[in-house]
């Protein structure tokens, strides 16, 4: 059973870079663990820290100005490797949602399977969020999963977003696909006989 997701009201961490691949989210050398825990500290490792582990001052996650449970990134976020460790790292670092104008398919599935909500917004809204956060790091987003809306608080920017009804139900109730699939094993066996 995972955490249930309904609404999220939070400041954001902006990363206005396009095509952020999962190798940047979590480099391959950190994939050697056999558990799901502990990836958060290496999220964006090579952007976040120097070779000797010193935090890089110019990276957004190291700035005291930017905190929050929502990561906002440029288009085509999560492209490249299928490593679910990327979703585990983002989740492990305390984020509950990622907002972009375009997500890579595998990352989107991995996020949903870990209770991390990927929210697709229009290019206009994405730029508006980046502008708002640049002007005021305290700018907030309100994500309402039951209503499927996202709002830049205190602005006219409010959009609805898509999510498969089944996945929405899973997120809102903390359900898990494996339980569901195991529960229909007899139907799968019947399918195999065809």
């Amino acid at each position: 059973m995972r955490n249930k997701f309904t609404t999220l009201h939070s400041t954001v961490v902006p990363l206005p870079i396009e095509n952020i691949d999962t190798d940047q989210i979590i480099p391959a050398r950190f994939l050697k663990a056999t558990t799901r825990e502990g990836f958060g500290e290496n999220l964006f490792r090579d952007w976040r820290y120097d070779k000797d582990g010193t935090p890089k001052e110019d990276f957004v996650m190291n700035s005291p100005l930017y905190r929050g449970q929502i990561l906002v990134a440029g288009k085509n976020f999560g492209c490249g490797s299928s490593r679910e460790h990327a979703a585990w790292a983002i989740d492990g670092a305390g984020f509950r949602a990622v907002v972009s104008s375009h997500f890579a398919d595998i990352f989107r599935n991995n996020a949903l399977n870990n209770g991390l909500l990927p929210v697709v917004v229009s290019e206009q809204m994405l730029s508006a969020i980046f502008r708002a956060v640049e002007a005021d790091p305290k700018a907030e987003l309100l994500i309402d999963l039951p209503a499927q809306t996202i709002e830049l608080v205190g602005s006219d920017f409010k959009e609805s977003f898509e999510i498969a009804p089944y996945k929405k139900e899973c997120l809102m109730n903390g359900y898990d696909d494996v339980d569901f699939l195991v529960s229909i094993r007899s139907e799968i066996e019947a399918f195999e006989q065809k």
Partner: protein, 464 residues
């Protein structure tokens, strides 16, 4: 009026649940050491067993050293991951080809090579390059570890059906142009997100003339344009490739299978959600200059400029060039390189090794260039030795290593040092992909060979 993709997908759909999520039946699942341990741990926690262990095959590949494979793995975490895979397979009666075994290798090389991958199948693996198997006319795609667990638990995954896309390459390929150049060209035109949400069928006269292994290189990189997977309709080339392989159907079963597989094609009136056509004659030997596989140009061209880009794209473009140490508008040819890596699930098959080896035959590796020639599997290594490729490579100053994923993602010791340039036949040039702060130039085996001989980025056609 169905596409090949529709036919295979629909035939494997057990049930469509609310709003379009499909319960998709998986014929074959491949696993490796990096993305499976948490899935097995999940099953143990739930107290459930692997549902169809005979449909799962494992091979350690990502972490393994490419020298002295007869010795224990020195790096403790890598050793533990590989040992965990072995014990998970033993406990669950899953076939594994362990390190050093004749069938061991990169999972996407050995699937087709052993005949486990067959036309019409659905195939998944916790690895984005699972799209490789689509070259044999399968619906094959990469999944995350939660989905690995789903497939182990039920032989099914839950998945929305992607849209369909067809990419046609028509006409004749020019001299010195290989299948890697075709796919790098396509990605440079469509971008790294150009295929997102789609499953791609590659078609057209230029694709038809390609060998099976060349087709695998193309399908392998369909993920690099964001596509869910790539596939090519099976034909005589496919059947000739598969015939007689260890796990391919034999005797009467073979004839029946070929009859069935021959029907696997998109209907003439099939409509794709997206369709693009390129002229084969426009494709030249390619190389990348940036930090994603879409940042590619012909090896005789100049790096583009940021003129006309919007500000978000401009920021991303400058960040990439800064990382690479290149400037806008510069010529790629003549740029010095430090390393050459030939291998990976993209270009680590015997035809790739042959292309590289016959190019360097009688020449000498440039001084100061370090080259790693890594076969994609134990079988590729065996063939390379038997055919005399290893000896030719040796005479030209190159060394043939042992199989594995190696410097494609540098999880083992094969890391490109910070700041160094590597011409790599692998699939990703992301920042730090081949080691922290390494700089990757993606290319095919001929461009890699030309660079290895001259020590600078070189158009292979000049040396042919």
């Amino acid at each position: 009026m169905n596409t090949l993709f529709d036919k295979i997908w629909d035939a494997h759909t057990v049930r469509v649940i609310d709003g379009g999520s499909c319960v998709l039946y998986i014929d074959r699942q491949y696993i490796h050491e990096v993305t499976s341990p948490q899935a097995f741990a999940g099953l143990r926690q739930r107290g459930i067993e692997v549902f169809r262990p005979q449909q799962v095959t494992a091979s350690p590949d990502h972490n393994i050293p490419t020298k002295n494979q007869h010795l224990p793995i020195a790096e403790p975490q890598s050793a533990e991951q590989v040992a965990t895979l072995v014990s998970n397979c033993q406990q669950n009666n899953i076939t594994i080809f362990p390190i050093g075994e004749r069938r061991n290798g990169i999972i996407h090389v050995i699937g087709p090579q052993t005949g486990l991958t067959q036309p019409g199948m659905t195939i998944v693996c916790g690895d984005s390059h699972t799209s490789t198997h689509g070259a044999l006319g399968c619906v094959a795609f990469g999944i995350g570890t939660s989905e690995v667990e789903m497939a182990l638990a039920s032989q099914c995954i839950l998945q929305s059906k992607p849209k369909s896309m067809r990419i046609n390459i028509e006409g004749e390929l020019g001299k010195g142009v290989c299948s890697k150049d075709i796919i790098l060209y396509i990605i440079s035109k469509l971008g790294t997100g150009g295929g997102t949400g789609h499953f791609v069928e590659f078609a057209g006269s230029a694709i038809r003339t390609l060998s099976m292994e060349a087709r695998m290189t193309i399908c392998n990189m369909s993920i690099e344009m964001g596509a869910r997977g790539g596939m090519i309709a099976p034909d005589q080339t496919t059947f000739d490739y598969l015939k007689g392989r260890e796990f391919a159907p034999q005797g009467d079963e073979w004839d029946k299978a070929v009859e069935r597989w021959s029907k696997l094609r998109s209907d003439d009136d099939a409509v794709f959600d997206k369709e693009v056509t390129f002229d084969a004659a426009d494709i030249k030997p390619m190389i990348t200059y940036g930090t994603n596989p879409g940042m590619g140009i012909a090896v005789d061209e100049h790096i583009p400029t940021s003129e006309g880009m919007d500000s978000a794209s401009k920021t991303t473009f400058s960040k990439a060039l800064d990382y690479m140490g290149f400037a806008e508008g510069e010529k790629m040819a003549g740029k010095p390189i430090d390393y050459v890596f030939v291998g990976s699930c993209t270009n680590g098959r015997i035809e790739d090794l042959r292309a590289f080896t016959y190019f360097v035959k009688g020449k000498q590796k440039a001084e100061g260039v370090t080259a790693w020639i890594v076969p994609g599997s134990k079988e590729v290594e065996r063939m390379a030795i038997e055919e005399g490729l290893r000896d030719i490579l040796h005479e030209a100053g190159f060394e043939l290593r042992e199989p594995g994923c190696s410097a494609c993602l540098a999880m083992n010791e094969d890391k490109i040092p910070a700041g160094k340039y590597c011409v790599a036949t692998s699939n990703r040039n992301f920042e730090g992909r081949q080691g922290p702060a390494s700089r990757t130039l993606l290319a095919g085996p001929l461009v890699a060979a030309a660079a290895a001989i001259t020590g600078v980025v070189t158009d292979p056609r000049e040396l042919m």
